[in-house]
Symmetry: C2
Subunit: 347 residues, 2 copies
DNA sequence: TTGAAAGCGCTAACAA
DNA sequence: TTGTTAGCGCTTTCAA
């Protein structure tokens, strides 16, 4: 690989000059410029990003921490992150923590500040103290999807009003006339799914329903998890006419369970999720869900991070430590319907 | 961020010594060692990976080029790649080419050799000349999933016998008694899906069937693509009893189309795909498919790449330029069944 | 066993 | 407009 000074030698100038033309920093004579460009071309020169990073005191990558990139939601997000990151010349390093905070810490310690200029966190299974520590050591961190806009996490974040999402889902079901509604809630009791369920509960309370509390199951955030939970729910109370899940994947699983138990969705049972992942559009029937502004969140997270990276260099305070995305929105598709008078036919 | 020499100063030694203890290179007195370790601890020192990379002349990352990480197949693969990469201390940079060879080239030029020590290519939409060029500039490249073991691509690769996969799928259908079989083939005519279809055709030929040729559609490698193609196929020839798709996603789409047209899968129509993505297990009915050794391919790709990275340093020739994974295997699930005598009931 | 010194490829003052 | 020089943080001979 040719280096700057080889290019310089060939062009009969010094590396400083080559550097200047490469960065378009002006103050270079047109003729010299041409010569340099020719040399670059002839040698097929490409700048050494690691060297540049070292000299500039900044790294050209952002780290994206996820529990597992294989979760169907993350890739969509990662794609958006990558696109935004590219705009500021950053590459993105995927860090799978595998839901293990030890692994997460290991990643942070190795990457932060050296290889990556900033850290994006897409799951809550990292130790917040670790995150604060890396922040204090000079590498900005932003949480990509904070679920409670009203309750700042003590770290920069982009917040999505998931409580509202839950409420919208609940309301939709109520408007369709459902009374007996089961709920499938993400597995970590005090975890990120609490606000979603709280919103759902709000909707129930607002309209004077109480029955919902009996029919609640926790399940891992997967199709299989939702399947198992829905089965339990439905076997325990076959009179349920709707199921609310705090996430699309379990909602999809619930549809399968319903089918296996002889319920027709949406005729006998309505199912609603939250997020609007790609798959939600592609299930049969397509899933009614509350869409969360994923792409917007990704963009915001990257620009917030970028701001945090750049501000200190300019001696300014960041303008805000929390961005709030636009609100979640109900997307009515085929998996919900107004409750039929005759209720279920079979089972 | 503390630096090596700060640690050194605090421990009353030079940076060379600190470096030695950190790399466990021995030749350091036990007492000094302790002092250094304490200083490291006290200062909370972490090595600067970019600086180390520069000094060592090697980068700590691998680039994974994919057309779009959002394709449901890639994340599973990416996860496996990341795990393997970590074993040799590499981080993985995700490069979404977006199926655009210009974007791909841009990535290669920026990353290869500087930020990344090697390049993994997970789609064929990169210009092979670009790949060869980066290889010649000193950055090893490996194709992660070459479809024709018998026909080396002129680049290091790990090959999967996709023709066999196609054949297994075809045979399975034939063994179930199917005669009229439709095929959905990936959209790029001469592209990566050709061997899969060729294998399918082999199976047909071997058993003297010819009808298949009429019922073939090209479709993008998505659920929607498969849906549209299957609809066409089925509307054109409702007597089809089976559909073979060169990939799971379109196969899943075909199942949806079948359902929409009143075909029951598998009673009226069998559907089979290739790959065995996670989703295949989670569809209704679960998809019969030919499983491809994804994880194994990921591991092989990373170790081949690692070997290519290290060999030249040791002056050796790489042992092989092509690894072949174990063979694809039929996974029978719920979407295929022996052809019923009465054929379809409805439609 | 430890230190001194050069250098990886680049940037960025500052001088000329 | 261009060159000189001094690093960025680390590794690695080679000496001591």
């Amino acid at each position: 690989m040719p280096t700057l000074s080889e290019v310089a030698r060939r062009a009969g100038v010094t590396s400083a000059t080559v550097s200047n033309v490469l960065r378009n920093r002006g103050r270079v004579g047109e003729e010299t410029r041409q010569r340099v460009l020719e040399a670059v071309e002839a040698l097929n020169y490409r700048p050494h990003l690691a060297a540049r990073a070292l000299a500039e005191g900044r790294a050209p990558t952002l780290a994206l921490m996820v529990s597992s990139i294989a979760n169907p939601f993350y890739p969509e997000f990662a794609l958006a992150v990558e696109r935004s990151a590219r705009e500021s010349g950053h590459f993105v390093i995927i860090c799978n923590t595998n839901d293990d905070s030890i692994a997460g810490r290991a990643y942070l310690e190795q990457i932060a500040g050296n290889l990556s200029e900033g850290v994006l966190v897409m799951n809550a299974n990292l130790d917040f103290d670790d995150l604060r520590a890396t922040q204090e050591r000079g590498t900005p961190v932003v949480l990509c999807m904070w679920e409670r806009p009203g309750d700042p996490p003590g770290l920069p974040c982009v917040a999505v009003d998931f409580r509202l999402a839950g409420r919208l889902a609940g309301r939709h079901l109520i408007e369709l006339g459902h009374e007996r509604i089961g709920a499938i809630v993400g597995s970590k009791p005090s975890g990120i799914h609490a606000p979603r369920y709280a919103g759902f509960a709000d909707a129930m309370r607002e309209t004077g329903r109480k029955a919902y509390a009996k029919s609640k199951r926790h399940a891992p955030d997967t199709i299989a998890g939702g399947y198992a939970a829905a089965r339990e729910l439905l076997e325990r109370d076959p009179a349920l006419t709707a199921i609310f899940a705090t996430n699309d994947l379990p909602a999809l699983g619930a549809m399968h369970a319903a089918a296996d138990l002889g319920f027709d969705v949406p005729r006998d049972l309505s199912v609603i999720g939250i997020t609007d992942i790609q798959l939600a559009r592609e299930s049969r029937p397509p899933l009614t869900t509350v869409a969360v502004p994923t792409i917007e969140a990704a963009r915001m997270a990257v620009s917030l991070l970028r701001e945090l990276i750049e501000r200190p260099a300019r001696g300014e305070e960041p303008s805000a430590l929390m961005c709030v995305t636009s609100s979640p929105e109900l997307v009515v598709r085929g998996s919900t319907r107004s409750v039929s008078k005759k209720k279920r036919k079979e089972s």
